[in-house]
């Protein structure tokens, strides 16, 4: 079983990486996961598998990771702090590693209020910062979270984290990103960028502090299907900023879906050419995985590099 993450090899060699996202279904068939994985295989370097996103019960991210691996695509297992205590997290991640998964993305997770089990109990035994720190220590110092020695076969993950330049307090977002890098984050995927001006200000602060030289930042982009979707995010999703111009452009478009894809491609090209310190792009085509190959191809990011 190979030990190094392909995503890590691509990023460490200085190539512009492409990741996407597959959301597991609300049932126990892997057919859709396999379909999406096969479709994306040649167009992305790795794909995130979301962990019960928006707190809606879905097929497990690690189980979905196995199906994705079997389709010849590298998974990035998402692990939220909402549903598992530190015992379950270590156990599940060691299991994931044994199944061939090499990338993990550590995040807080949406509050259960937003899901289909709003009366459930959240865990938050540890937070995302602590998860990053202890996974790094597991790998580099061969220690369980408790400090007990791992005698052999410690999981050696390529550790990812998220950053949200659109949440508040704005300046502290750069501090917190640095804190995550200090804790052990090796790659960062950002929240969906719609407000490019704010993202550029964020990256300017990141570069001033040289953080982009210590971590691989992948810019998050999302194609919009309609102006209503954009408006919904603008009004209802905490921690996201959608400028009015974007809503208007979709509203005035003859074919809004086409327009949404075009906007996304424009953003990728702009980021790649103009925003220094960004090492890749993370395409979150939410419930619209089919459109990923076209976005990658038309953004000039196809074919993807081969890794030995």
């Amino acid at each position: 079983m190979k030990n190094l993450s392909k995503l890590q090899q691509i990023l460490d060699s200085g190539q512009f990486a492409v990741t996407a996202e597959i959301g597991p279904p609300k049932h126990s068939s892997a057919e859709g996961i396999r379909h999406h994985a096969e479709m994306m295989r040649d167009y992305v370097d790795a794909t995130n598998i979301t962990d019960n996103q928006t707190a809606i019960v879905r097929l497990s991210s690690i189980a979905a990771g196995v199906h994705v691996l079997n389709c010849g695509i590298e998974p990035i297992v998402q692990m939220t702090c909402r549903d598992r205590n530190r015992i379950a997290m270590q156990s599940d991640l060691m299991g994931a590693y044994s199944l061939g998964m090499r990338n993990v993305l550590c995040l807080s997770g949406d509050h259960q209020k937003f899901g289909n089990h709003p009366t459930s109990k959240n865990v938050y035994d540890i937070d995302s910062m602590q998860l990053i720190y202890y996974l790094r220590r597991m790998r580099d110092e061969k220690l369980f979270f408790s400090g007990e020695e791992i005698k052999e076969h410690e999981p050696r993950f390529f550790i990812g984290a998220v950053a949200n330049p659109f949440a508040d307090p704005f300046e502290f977002r750069v501090d917190r990103l640095e804190k995550k890098v200090e804790a052990g984050a090796q790659f960062i995927q950002t929240q969906c960028i719609f407000d490019m001006e704010r993202f550029e200000r964020f990256m300017e602060m990141v570069r001033e502090r040289g953080i982009d030289e210590r971590v691989h930042i992948l810019a998050g982009v999302t194609p919009m299907k309609s102006w209503r979707a954009a408006k919904y995010i603008q009004n209802n999703v905490s921690g996201m900023i959608v400028p009015d111009e974007l809503v208007e452009r979709l509203k005035n478009a003859e074919d809004p879906k086409r327009e949404g894809v075009d906007i996304c491609i424009e953003q990728i090209k702009y980021i790649k050419e103009n925003v220094k310190g960004v090492h890749g792009v993370h395409v979150m085509a939410i419930a619209w995985e089919e459109v990923v190959p076209e976005i990658v191809e038309r953004s000039g990011l196809y074919p993807r590099p081969k890794v030995g």
Partner: protein
């Protein structure tokens, strides 16, 4: 203080539906301050039950008493004579008081009239807010005197999460983001560098996860 709120009258009536004589016991502690189970609320609840049962042609004999505190054995001793011939005791104390009554009066049906909500304080008259998560290992010196354990919806120690926007929590626009408050206060105090320190996971065994907790002070024990 402990903040509690009275259950709906219908729910309380249901708990004592088959009783003919009931003692309503108030508490002069926290629940008096938060206007949920003091002497006044006890009298009002007993009257409400009498009227309701009269209207249903099923009269209820309701007596009342308010203890200095229901969470201290010595203050519930005076109830010994009052409970003798009742079918049930309705406690208007927090969950602690209900249990003290149940423990002392082993052959009596004891029911709660309140929902014990949280520990906190009053914001304005009639408006109380939760402020402390009773974690058993206070960290307020690291967070500018603002508790992330209970005031952050995710109890995050290295916050804020990505759902914080315009000073509010992702859970609701009515909830302040505790970490925005912490950030603002630490910034004003010139202590932002403290927030860059990695905060390790909490020892939850000192909280409710370690089983029922005890506090022992040998120096004040008698015998």
């Amino acid at each position: 203080m402990i903040v509690a709120q009275q259950k709906p009258v219908e729910d309380i009536a249901q708990m004592i539906a088959d009783c003919k004589k009931v003692l309503f016991v108030g508490c002069a502690g926290c629940v008096t301050v938060c206007l949920a189970g003091g002497e006044k609320e006890t009298e009002v609840l007993a009257s409400a039950m009498r009227i309701k049962r009269n209207l249903e042609n099923n009269p209820l004999e309701a007596t009342t008493f308010t203890c200095t505190r229901q969470c201290d054995p010595e203050y519930i001793v005076p109830l010994d004579n009052l409970v003798k011939d009742v079918d049930a005791i309705v406690s208007l104390a927090c969950g602690v008081g209900v249990q003290y009554l149940a423990e002392r009066f082993k052959d009596k049906w004891v029911v709660p009239a309140l929902d014990t909500k949280f520990i906190g304080g009053s914001v304005t008259h009639g408006n109380w807010e939760e402020k402390c998560g009773l974690c058993g290992d206070c960290i307020l010196h690291r967070t500018g005197g603002i508790c992330p354990i209970i005031r952050c919806s995710k109890s995050i120690l290295n916050g804020p999460c990505g759902g914080s926007q315009y000073g509010k929590c992702e859970v609701s626009k009515d909830v302040d983001c505790a970490w925005q408050l912490i950030y603002d206060r630490m910034k004003a105090l010139g202590k932002l560098d403290k927030l860059m320190e990695f905060q390790p996971p909490k020892d939850w065994s000192k909280s409710r996860d370690g089983g029922p907790r005890k506090a022992i002070r040998e120096d004040v024990m008698i015998d």
